[in-house]
Symmetry: D2
Subunit: 409 residues, 4 copies
């Protein structure tokens, strides 16, 4: 293929157009490892609450790469030198930053794989792609791993104000229709700068940063931790856990070859060979959902019921408050349900359970967002001004939930 | 459930909010027959070209219902009487107008089922729902079937300016990011009126109507009939056709129970019993895609190759022009490929084929769009003005395409 | 005119369409007292910073009326009874709530008129219109003055979450292009309710309220109190003050008849007769700007220089910080300038001056925003949750500024 | 001023941000000749119909310059070489292309000045600025005058698809809220290319071009030639004509110095000295509107009545149709009105008059829009395809109007 033909333009409802900046980026996008992200939803089961939320990790990765190009453009305009090589590394790293996500990633990290984070898998994919592409990703990987001395490159990929967040908050707000959560990514980017090789926000951007953090918190409570999304995700996690439990007991469940592999094996990070990686790369939302569709005919009450609930959006009830639910109350509900359906205690615990979720809009302990004052000083945004309220936003807020079956179940 | 609780509000990125107008509508939406539309993409494989185009038939149906509420509000404001009963019928009929769609509907109508249109299946679903809901849909069905005397009700559901089109053009334009195709649905609705129980557009809306038709044509050529979408859809059709062919020859292909049924049986409209309907209701995008994912390991060269092409977006080449391709040329290509891979002529025809697509932006022969002049006369919009160019837009335009494998295949 | 013809629809870039809800409203809009608002800019000289900010008080008043109709619709849907009479009163009161604004209102309140607020003048206009319209505004005026027992009516017109703010924040954000200040007015309205005849926000709206307050604060610091806007407004105030000073000294300045009247007379609220009101109603932006355009040829150095600065956007320099500027420093600068141009101390003080601005995003002492919890309790939003940070937002923030001429002046 | 400080960014509600690309451009914008455009409305009296339409020629000029930067970026990406010098010339020429507009330009061209077009005055301004800026505009002027050999530069400034149109159609649609008239300028720009130094549109853009032309026509009939705008513009023209007539008869009318000059003198292009130009540069909307505000107290019935009509939006009635109005009918109405108010025939003709307006959406005779086919050929878009209907759009459409006083006048 003519290299010129690889400088494609992709339509995007949010930014208008996304340009693929180089033939190497084009080839990475074409790779089946990346194409699979077309079949992995960015927001898992959230579409049960927000019917527009069907956008994919594929689209988010392209969007983040688009914002990276904007950031590079803005920084160069302000006199920050970024070489061609650094530019390509930034584009590669942001494109691939989430390539390790599997289907319904959060539910899966605790069921299908065992304590393997998607970040670790992203790195495995990058290394395998690096091998396939004659080491042309080596530098990008070092930036991704924060081994490169100009730290702002890594910060553009991963920090409290990185291109990843700037895209996903905007995109998730856009597709859910929760417009209060919208972040004006392009405007925030115009306020970025670099000082001592670290990413900073210009002083005039202080209110925009605060608004970004408030919007982010709003998205957490209103969308990501929405009661119905939460219960759906918990159900999904339990469907997979139950399927693995049954498989381990020797039950043969209908499932795709790739899914079967992960149900049968305990895969840890140590065991994540290239072959396992390749099998992992075959997994996507379609494996999970279509398995559930066959599991509604399963003989197992738990697997069948949970699958049905998710497919027909007839979920468990869920309550949420700021104090934990008394464990006796939970136990009581569990027992009632156990008796009603003649289940084991373990089985009943799939239907009645509590848990907690938390959110911290701004983290003052890890890497902070830094402001560049007009006089050239660099200060933590949370301390920049007596009028801001970021300390309040830095508090970790915990909520407790309780899930249990509807009365007619 | 408390009836008050059924007056839900749903977030929509396009309209902001969609209100569910009555408990009956709420219950219809909750029904598994309708919930399944969450798993059926509105635009099939178009996301291979437009990565944002993952919206579902579920969402479109809600959107069309939202526009219907707008239209009822506007018409009543203008003095058109619409009873409560008529209002509910309109909402039901528009909500369910597309419920008969299966996964990748256009590909499927010519493979999985045999000459059964989605409109016919929609009606079967409505009748079954009517049975389940104690005949509360009877009136809505008569409006849907155009048996009610006030014809504008049917026209709001199905005509060249119905709520279906006003939503899907807007929605498809929105999600693809092809903003030139955008139709200002709400504005067009404010220009609707009723004269002699027929739907009309007020005279001042003449340019808006024209712009609507031009936008519609643009969407056809730029999106719906986009070369890459077209070849993907043709490949999908052929995957299913091949799977059916093999199944009929006795090959056991991995597939969900519902899909297997349709591969094994020749289902015509006559044989579409309630039981078949129920099986049909189990089919969605997940059955098709996950089957293809297993078919990439099939022994059959055709099935395997076509499935791979779709999953990795490594499609056939496609050319398009306004004159038919010479059949000798097609045959020649076919033979070359047949020889190269040692296939039968039938098998080769899955990889090399031609066809035609057409589009008619405005149809002057079927039901026209009528203008209401300031003096109260009703005229066909195409004849309303010497300056409009709808006659040109009424021409049927045909294009011919040719698909064949890439040179390295 | 046929009453039906008064149910007009007006185009609005923000809401799409604004409907004029009754013939009386139509007639009020047609009245010259209201039409004059077409010639009064909503944001004064802010267009010197934000070139899009040319929207008028006329447009804002229509927008607020549009939101009022939305609010009435939403509240009725939730079972809040609002009679036809109350509805019309709400629409009238919100339409006319700002009718008392003169050109560049804030600058004028301290120069042209003397300690007469625009609210007082609004009431005078309403009373005069009531006389002209046969007392059909009596009830609306009682709602406006908060004399009606159902307090939520007044709150919709004037409170921390009224239709006035919901429109102007949205509109000002829209026209300036400062999109971070955007408030999703329609969404906030859907969360309103009424409890014990008081306006409340439903609990789920808590984050939206917070975001509204944060957006409001951002608009203050970034737009309303923007350094350049501030200095332009201060200059305008001083132009008018100087013109009045000179007029009082007997100098004849070119000015429109209406402006001349206010330059010659000391008008207080007591002296605001109907005749004065009528003269006031002749004043608009065009009187002020065109006077300045002739004053650039004035013999008076102060009047001439300040007018020139504004017209050619060649303003004073301005600094801003959180502590007051030392008065000696100000005096020093003043003296230097005085000497340089051979001015009196009073004259120099037109060019060198300090001042303060403040902003309080949420006022906990006056009327609070109340939340309605799911259990039906009403609580102040600032106390509703340990995770919110409204207390920080309730702090009054003061900033001090210093204006002085550019070095080459 | 530090040159770096001149690389300002301006907020724009449409494009987000507009960058000022060089210190020279910054200085041109700062010049009083350009700053005056802040006081000249882009759409004249159209705000009487569309209350949002208060945007200025200043803002449009910046917007067009922004699009020019986009176009340069896109063309360079496609391999079209554009030197730094050519880039600056393009930016200067587009920034200044409309600098010759006076207030309510179309009305003024036939009253205040005499057969002097705004294009001619633009050139005078450019030449004077060139003198003031040490001939740094010489090359830009040659591009503007189409004397440079690479014709596409001029075409970007002035052709059927220039940056001027792409901005004003978008901007006028945006501010009026007539969203059907919206043109996706950025998308159209991405489809531009250059072939043989001429501007072309890539073939795939054919539907976008057509939609652009249809949108343009819609804007004409719905906005620019809207009946109420039309009658307001005709009234304004007649107010100025009457004022000039009276002045010529020796009547002293209140007016600003600049306006007085043009009322007293017959200014033709030959007499347009630098001094006249400078006087012209003092004229803006404020001169016209504030003069009318004083003219409502004039002794002259015509001047007084027409001024009142415009200020209180109590206009003449207007009818429009596709055939001319019979001159006897016009005369009859004129005589009735003449008798009623005891006027001369000339005076009555200010209140009763007919005229015609026309629109040609696409002009096939002057410079056409050219398509670049995939095979590299260049064809006129109107002939490019049998399915397009540009020939219909090329017809010149004429409408005739008749204005006369309301019955109670």
């Amino acid at each position: 293929m003519n290299p010129q033909n690889k400088l494609k333009i992709v339509n995007d409802p949010i930014y208008g157009f996304i340009t693929i900046p180089s033939p190497l980026l084009f080839d990475l996008i074409e790779h089946p490892y990346f194409q699979r992200l077309r079949r992995i939803s960015q927001m898992g089961m959230s579409y049960l609450v927000y019917p527009g939320a069907h956008h994919t990790r594929f689209h988010h990765a392209l969007g983040a790469m688009h914002l990276m190009q904007k950031a590079i453009y803005v920084l160069r305009l302000k006199g920050v030198e970024i070489s061609k090589k650094e530019e390509e590394a930034l584009n590669i790293a942001i494109l691939l930053h989430d390539i390790g996500h599997g289907p319904f990633s959060h539910a899966m990290e605790h069921s299908i794989v065992e304590n393997v984070s998607h970040e670790e898998i992203s790195l495995l994919f990058m290394e395998e792609l690096n091998a396939q592409f004659n080491n042309r990703l080596t530098f990008a990987i070092s930036v991704f791993k924060n081994e490169y001395e100009r730290k702002f490159l890594h910060q553009l990929i991963s920090s409290q104000l990185d291109m990843d967040r700037l895209d996903y908050l905007r995109r998730d707000s856009f597709y859910t229709g929760v417009s209060e959560g919208s972040v004006n990514s392009e405007r925030l980017i115009t306020m970025l700068n670099v000082k001592n090789d670290l990413l900073v926000v210009e002083e005039k951007g202080i209110y925009s940063v605060e608004k970004f953090i408030v919007a982010r918190r709003l998205m957490y409570w209103q969308v990501y931790l929405h009661k119905t999304s939460l219960v759906a995700e918990q159900l999904l996690l339990r469907v997979l856990k139950r399927a693995k439990e049954l498989t381990q007991q020797g039950v043969e469940l209908p499932a795709s070859a790739a899914l079967s592999f992960f149900l049968k094996n305990h895969v840890t990070i140590e065991g994540f060979s290239v072959k396992v990686l390749d099998t992992f790369s075959k997994l996507d939302d379609y494996d999970i959902i279509s398995s559930m569709k066959s599991w509604v005919s399963s003989e197992d009450f738990v697997l069948r019921s949970l699958s049905e609930m998710l497919l027909n959006r007839n979920l468990l009830k869920v309550k949420m408050k700021s104090k934990p639910y008394a464990s006796e109350k939970i136990e009581e509900r569990k027992k009632t349900f156990q008796k009603k359906h003649n289940l084991s205690a373990n089985e009943a615990s799939y239907f009645v359970f509590g848990g907690e979720v938390f959110n911290q809009a701004y983290n003052m302990e890890t890497e902070t967002i830094n402001l560049l004052t007009k006089t050239g000083k660099v200060v933590d945004v949370a301390k920049a001004s007596d009028q801001l309220n970021l300390e309040a936003l830095s508090k970790k807020v915990v909520k407790y939930y309780l899930c249990y079956p509807k009365s007619d179940y």
